[in-house]
């Protein structure tokens, strides 16, 4: 093992469980952020790809074709509903998600029958049923519990927003929406 890389054992141990290293994971985050290339090379030797996200957090790239673990569809449905709700109430999504604290009992996931039906597809039937999903997101480093009831989202949740952007595909309004005035400024 390369002894020059600080905390490498602990970093590996967290990343291999699907954890995302962000500012909340000091001193591990600072260690990787300062020597990203070296850590990436180190893990590449054992066929692991260390990804540095543009929003400044780190995770291991999943193997293509890996089986989808049970909890991930629940996380996806939970997240899509939260985003859909924020969009419906006219909030700036990133501001809504990343700048406020959420209370588990106040989550909007059971505010509409449509959401209830969707959640039922992943066996979530009430607010209590959301807790295991939130705990898994906590283990992945996507959110942080401030106490048993209150939590806030962390930067790695951006992966979910990236997925939404990927799904939205070709932008229906983007073609003529870009102001074509660059030459005049």
């Amino acid at each position: 093992m390369n002894t020059a890389l600080a905390h490498v054992g602990e970093i590996f141990d967290r990343l291999r469980r699907g954890h995302h290293l962000s500012l909340e994971d000091e001193p591990l985050f600072s260690a990787v952020a300062a020597n990203y290339e070296e850590y990436a090379t180190f893990f590449a030797a054992i066929k692991l790809t260390l990804v540095r996200h543009p929003r400044d957090f780190f995770y291991f790239a999943p193997e293509p074709g890996d089986k989808v673990p049970d909890g991930l569809p629940r996380i996806a449905v939970f997240s899509y509903i939260l985003i859909d709700h924020a969009a419906n109430i006219g909030r700036n999504l990133e501001e809504y998600i990343f700048t406020q604290h959420f209370l588990v009992s106040q989550l909007p996931h059971f505010s509409l029958d449509r959401y209830c039906v969707l959640l039922k597809q992943v066996d979530i039937r009430d607010i209590q049923g959301l807790r295991p999903t939130l705990r898994q997101m906590h283990r992945m480093g996507w959110l942080k519990f401030l106490d048993g009831e209150e939590f806030r989202f962390l930067r790695p949740f951006h992966r979910m927003l990236d997925k939404c952007l990927e799904l939205s595909g070709p932008r229906p309004w983007a073609g003529n929406a870009e102001p074509a005035a660059g030459s005049t400024s």
Binding site: L93, A174, A181
Partner: protein, 392 residues
């Protein structure tokens, strides 16, 4: 004043009833002044008939402009307005060139006056466009927070497309406006140097105004773009994120969870780690083994009598009925056979069994010409014509 502003804010024509309704709703004006206010609005020509002898009214144009000015309400210039100005200036330019060539002093003066008016209107519309954009942006920031994200985004895109984009044509160095203004500058120079027109200050004023508008258009364009662009960028991203989430939920609702996960889940790396157990883990296992106290297995009573559900008995009977009846075919009176063979069954069960046999695909049932008979079933009596049953 509130009443005037309210009236100015309404687009289109208003009936007398609608105007009276608005007057009545004004908290300052009492009910007693309703008639007087209505008469004043007409007498002072604040409201004028939309057409001659029409029962519908519109606010007089000068009054609505004054109200807009007093309350700093602005309307952005549309592409059509800008195009109209450019066409008007082109026609005017050709007329001015002819007048200079013919040395028609009066026509030159009239053309210059019209040019000044048109330039003033352009200046005023540019100013209004900027104020409208500012107002839209601040309105978004303060009041439109409850409108759905996609609607907000489309509104901003609409403003970009409708009011900011046309300004690009107006400020482009190789655009139509630049060519038209340059042509006017040349004409003004020619009028000064080679015509009998002697009002040099008027020519200077026009040339100055042309340059002023050029600078103002560029400034307004940049300001509008700078006001809208951050909002546009932020809303664009949010809108696409929201669209992706909505799409994912729609797919889930439509297609169900099977196969959905592969495309819509964010993949996360996980692996199981096999390693030598630690001392603590081994100690825990040993402790668990030493603390283990075997328990007797629970006894399962396999011979306990449980009542068979009546519904199960009934279903079994109904299922076996075609097999039973097949042995007795042909039957000249099906119902008599069922009643006789199953005397303990209830009337409902007898009738259900009878119906099942009548409509069974393996048998053929038909009424006979025999007289109506009486069938006693338990505590019921049924009168019916006999039905015979045969194998087809």
């Amino acid at each position: 004043m509130d009443l005037l502003r309210e009236l100015a804010g309404l687009d289109g024509e208003l009936s007398e009833a609608e105007v009276r309704q608005i007057i009545r709703a004004d908290p300052v004006l009492g009910l007693e002044s309703l008639e007087q206010t209505w008469k004043q609005l007409q007498a002072l020509q604040i409201l004028v008939p939309a057409e001659v002898d029409s029962d519908y009214y519109v606010m007089a144009r000068p009054v609505s402009r004054l109200i807009a000015y007093l309350f700093d309400e602005a309307h952005a210039a549309t592409p059509e307005m800008i195009r109209g100005y450019m066409e008007s200036l082109e026609v005017l330019g050709r007329g001015l060139a002819r007048s200079i060539a013919n040395d028609d002093i009066l026509a030159v003066r009239l053309a210059l006056e019209e040019l000044q008016q048109t330039l003033q209107r352009i200046q005023s519309d540019l100013d209004e466009t900027y104020r409208s954009v500012c107002s839209e942006v601040s309105d978004y920031k303060t009041r439109r927070r409850t409108v759905a994200m996609r609607e907000q985004f489309r509104r901003i895109v609409y403003w970009m497309d409708r009011y900011v984009e046309p300004l690009v044509e107006f400020v482009r160095p190789d655009g139509l406006r630049t060519a038209t203004f340059e042509e006017f500058e040349r004409l003004l120079l020619r009028a000064r140097d080679s015509s009998m027109f002697s009002d040099v200050p008027a020519l200077d004023r026009c040339a100055r105004q042309l340059r002023l508008i050029e600078r103002q258009a560029l400034r307004v364009f940049r300001q509008c773009r700078d006001e809208l662009r951050p909002l546009y960028e932020s809303l664009r991203r949010s809108s696409f994120i929201a669209a992706g989430a909505a799409l994912a939920l729609e797919h889930l609702q439509r297609d169900g969870i099977g196969g959905w996960a592969q495309k819509h889940v964010v993949p996360v790396y996980t692996t199981l780690n096999y390693s030598v157990p630690s001392d603590a883990a081994i100690a825990r296992c040993v402790r668990a083994l030493s603390d283990y106290r075997p328990e007797r297995p629970p006894k399962v009573d396999l011979h306990r009598d449980e009542p068979v559900p009546t519904e199960l008995v009934r279903q079994k009977w109904l299922t076996a009925l075609p097999r039973e009846v097949r042995k007795a075919l042909p039957l000249s009176d099906l119902l008599a056979w069922v009643v006789l063979r199953y005397p303990s069954m209830s009337t409902a069960d007898i009738l259900e069994g009878f119906t099942r046999l009548v409509f069974h695909k393996d048998f053929s049932a038909s009424f006979t010409h025999a007289e109506r008979r009486t069938y006693a079933i338990g505590d019921s009596i049924i009168f019916a014509n006999p039905v015979e049953l045969r194998a087809p």
